[in-house]
Amino acid sequence: MPEIIVQSDTFDMGERLNRFAARQANAGAVVSFSGIVRDVATGDLDAMEIEHYPGMTEKALAKIADEAMSRWQLADAFILHRYGRMGQGETIMMVATASRHRADAFAAAEFLMDYLKSRAPFWKKEITGEGAAWVAARDEDEDALARWQQR
C-alpha cells in the first residue's frame, strides 16, 4: 500500500527517504524526487503559499499512486505534499518509488510527478514585495501527461 501524507509541517526528506528505503527488503532500487521553494525571476520571493482541497487531495494522490503501482512493477510508493506557508529553500513535497528494477522506479517516479502537478488539487501562490500572485499552470505540465496516456 502506497503511503500518502498531506501536512503543513516541515519535514526532513533524508529521514523520510531512509525510512521508506528501510521498508524495501525486496526491492533493490529506490528513486526519489523532492520539490523545493525556489526564488522568483525578480528575486524577491518572501514566501510560497499552497492551498489544497482537504479530502480530495488525499483521494487524488492515492489514485495516482495506485495507478503507478498497477502500471509498473513497484514494491512500494510514497508521496508527501505540504500545504500552507513556506519559505525559500523549504521542501514542498517528495515522492519515492521502490522496485526490483531501476527503470520501473524511475518511470513511476516521473509519472507520479507529472500527474501530481496537474491532477492533485494544490494551488501555489507566490508572495513577493510586489504582493501575492497565483502561479499559472503551464501548458507543458498538461502536455507531459499525454505521453503516459498512449500506453
Partner: protein, 82 residues
C-alpha cells in the same frame, strides 16, 4: 441542496470558499451558467471556462459531467502542485 466549494483565485473572485445552493442544473456546465447569471462577480469568476476545472464529490470531471445525486461540486483553476 448541493454544497459548492471554490479554491484559489476562483474562491477570491467569487468571494467565498463554500456555499449551499438549490439548483435545477443537471450538469456541471449548466450549474456554471446558473451561477454566472447571479451577479457580475460570478460572471467574472467563470468568464473563461478553459481556466476552470471541476470536481464532483471530490473526483475531477469534465464540465459536461452530470451532477445528479452529487453532494459536493468544487470549482478551481488548473492545479499547480509539485
Amino acid at each position: 441542496m448541493i454544497e459548492l466549494r471554490y479554491f484559489a483565485w476562483l474562491r477570491e473572485r467569487v468571494g467565498t470558499g463554500h456555499e449551499t445552493v438549490e439548483t435545477g442544473a443537471t450538469t456541471v456546465a449548466e450549474l456554471i451558467e446558473e451561477l454566472k447569471a447571479r451577479d457580475e462577480g460570478y460572471a467574472f469568476a467563470f468568464s473563461d471556462l478553459k481556466a476552470i476545472r471541476a470536481a464532483v464529490d471530490q473526483d475531477l470531471v469534465d464540465l459536461d459531467a452530470p451532477i445528479a445525486g452529487a453532494r459536493e461540486v468544487a470549482f478551481f483553476p488548473p492545479m499547480t502542485g509539485g
